[in-house]
C-alpha cells in the first residue's frame, strides 16, 4: 500500500486536482472569507459617498492579469451602480475598453444610462503625462470618449472637469499606473486614490497605504472575493477562490500522503534489516 503511494502514477494527481478545481464551479463551497483591513477600507470609503458622487475607474490591467483583477472591476462596478454613484471609466493601458464593456454587462440589473450614469473615455496613451494633464483639464485631455463622441455632448461630464471634481480614483493596475495617480493626483490635488491590484504588486503598494496616500486596496482574486462578500453578492471570484482552496488542499494532502508513505516504508525497511 505504502509502496503504491510512493510510486503513484502522476496522472492520479492530475485527475484529482482537475476535479478539485472544477467542483466548486458547479457547486460553490462557500468557504468563509475573512475580510482584510485594506479591502474593508476601500469598501467603507465608497459606501459613505453620496449618490451623484464621481468615481474614476482607471482600467489598467493586461489580459494576463485579468483573472485576478477583472472580478474586482465587476464587484466595484456593482457597488457603485447600487449607490447611484457616477462612474468614469478610462485606461492608461490599451485593453481598457474591452474590460469596461464586459464589467458593465456583468454588473447586473441596474440599467445604467450611458452619458448620465457612466461614461467610458477609453484608452489614452501618454502614461504619467496623461494623469498630470487630466488632473488639470479632463475635457482637453480626452476630447472624445472611446466611441469618438465628443465629451462635451455627454451630460454627466459637464460637471467633471478637473481632479477636484473627482471624489475617488481607483487604479485597477497590473503594472505601475497607481504610482502616477498617487504622484500626480493625490499628492498635488488631494484626490483620494484606491487600488485594485494583482497579488504581485501588493507588497510595494503597502507603503502608500501606511502613509494614507492610498485609502484602501484589493489584493488579487482574494481581494475580489472579499469585496463580493462585502457587497453581499458572491460571484466569480468567490467561486474561483473556493477552487483555489480545494486545489491547495489537494496538493497539500498529496504531499502529506507522500511523506507518510516515505517514512512508513523507511521504518519497515529498517525493521526488516534489524
Amino acid at each position: 500500500m505504502l509502496e503504491k503511494i510512493q510510486k503513484m502514477d502522476q496522472r492520479i494527481i492530475y485527475l484529482v486536482l482537475l476535479i478539485a478545481l472544477s467542483f466548486p464551479m458547479f457547486r460553490p463551497l462557500g468557504l468563509p472569507v475573512s475580510i482584510g483591513q485594506t479591502s474593508q477600507d476601500l469598501y467603507d470609503f465608497i459606501d459613505q459617498l453620496d449618490p451623484g458622487s464621481v468615481v474614476v475607474l482607471s482600467i489598467d490591467y493586461s489580459p494576463g492579469a485579468a483573472a485576478q483583477i477583472h472580478p474586482q472591476t465587476i464587484a466595484i462596478t456593482k457597488h457603485l451602480l447600487s449607490k447611484k454613484i457616477k462612474i468614469v471609466y478610462m485606461g492608461l493601458v490599451q485593453y481598457a475598453s474591452q474590460f469596461t464593456t464586459d464589467a458593465i454587462a456583468k454588473a447586473g440589473d441596474y440599467n445604467p444610462v450611458y452619458g448620465q450614469d457612466y461614461v467610458d473615455l477609453g484608452f489614452k496613451p501618454g502614461e504619467e503625462a496623461t494623469v498630470s494633464a487630466m488632473s488639470k483639464d479632463i475635457h482637453a485631455t480626452f476630447v472624445t470618449d472611446s466611441d469618438g463622441t465628443a465629451i462635451a455632448e455627454l451630460p454627466m461630464m459637464a460637471d467633471i472637469k478637473t481632479a477636484s471634481d473627482i471624489d475617488l480614483v481607483i487604479a485597477f493596475d497590473s503594472g505601475g499606473t497607481r504610482h502616477w495617480y498617487v504622484g500626480q493626483m493625490q499628492a498635488l490635488y488631494g484626490t483620494p486614490v484606491g487600488c485594485a491590484l494583482n497579488s504581485v504588486n501588493v507588497t510595494n503598494t503597502m507603503p502608500y497605504y501606511d502613509a494614507g496616500q492610498v485609502i484602501g486596496l484589493l489584493n488579487g482574486l482574494r481581494g475580489a472575493a472579499e469585496y463580493e462578500a462585502l457587497i453581499g453578492d458572491p460571484g466569480e471570484a468567490t467561486i474561483n477562490l473556493d477552487s483555489i482552496s480545494s486545489g491547495h488542499l489537494v496538493i497539500i494532502l498529496f504531499i502529506l500522503f507522500g511523506n507518510i508513505a516515505y517514512f512508513g516504508l523507511r521504518n519497515s525497511n529498517k525493521r526488516k534489516e534489524a
Binding site: Y14, P63, S245, I252, F254, I255, G258, N259
Partner: protein, 204 residues
C-alpha cells in the same frame, strides 16, 4: 577573428557609454546599434525558418515518425506567414491565428503548470534531507497562507507566510541578484576581451 572581436568590443562599449553617460553623439550611435540589432535578429529569423522547414520537410519526404504532424506544421507556417504578410499583422484575417491558436494554446500551456507544480511538489517535498525538509515546511506554510482554507486551520498562517516572503526569501533573492550581477559581468569580460570565443569559431 581579430576584426570580429573588435566589432564585439566596440559595439558593447558604445552601448555601455550610452547607459552611463549623456553624450549626444553616443546617444545617436547607441540608437543606431539598437535598431541594427533588430534587423540582424530578423535576418536570423530567416535562418531559423530555414532550419525548421528543412527538418520537417525531410521528415515528410522520408515519411518518418509522425510526418503528418510535420506536414501540418509546414502548411500552417506557410499559410499564416502568407496571411500575415499579405493582409498585415493587424488584420482580422491574421487575428484568427492569434485568437484561435497562439493566445489560447499559450494560456493552456501556462495553465498546465498547475499539474506539473503539483506532481513536482509531491515528489520533492519529502523530508529526506535537511534541505528537503526546509523546502517542504516552508512551502506548505506559504501555501496555507495563500489559500483561505489555511486561515480556517490556523489564523496566523497569512502572517507567517508574509514573514517568510519578506525576510528569508527576500534575503536570498537579493543575494542571488547581486551574485548574478557580479557573475554576469565576469562572463561579459571573458566574452568582450576574447578569452571566450567559441561563438566566433575559436577553440581553447
Amino acid at each position: 577573428m581579430r576584426f570580429a572581436q573588435a566589432i564585439t568590443l566596440v559595439f558593447a562599449l558604445i552601448l555601455l557609454m550610452q547607459f552611463f553617460l549623456e553624450v549626444p553623439a553616443i546617444e545617436t550611435a547607441g540608437g543606431h546599434l539598437t535598431s541594427w540589432n533588430i534587423v540582424i535578429a530578423a535576418f536570423a529569423m530567416g535562418l531559423a525558418a530555414f532550419n525548421l522547414i528543412r527538418i520537417h520537410l525531410k521528415r515528410v519526404q522520408l515519411k518518418r515518425g509522425n510526418w503528418i504532424s510535420s506536414a501540418i506544421l509546414l502548411i500552417v507556417l506557410v499559410v499564416q506567414t502568407f496571411v500575415g504578410l499579405y493582409f498585415g499583422d493587424n488584420s482580422a484575417q491574421y487575428k484568427v491565428f492569434f485568437d484561435g491558436i497562439i493566445s489560447p494554446l499559450g494560456a493552456t500551456m501556462y495553465a498546465m503548470l498547475a499539474f506539473w507544480i503539483a506532481s513536482a511538489a509531491f515528489r520533492a517535498f519529502k523530508a529526506r534531507t535537511l534541505d528537503a525538509t526546509i523546502l517542504l515546511c516552508v512551502g506548505i506554510i506559504v501555501m496555507l497562507g495563500n489559500a483561505p482554507i489555511g486561515e480556517i486551520i490556523w489564523s496566523q498562517f497569512p502572517a507567517l507566510r508574509s514573514w517568510l516572503m519578506t525576510v528569508p526569501a527576500m534575503a536570498a533573492v537579493r543575494a542571488l541578484y547581486i551574485g548574478a550581477a557580479i557573475g554576469g559581468i565576469a562572463v561579459g569580460v571573458r566574452v568582450l576581451l576574447g578569452i571566450e570565443r567559441g561563438h566566433l569559431g575559436g577553440g581553447e
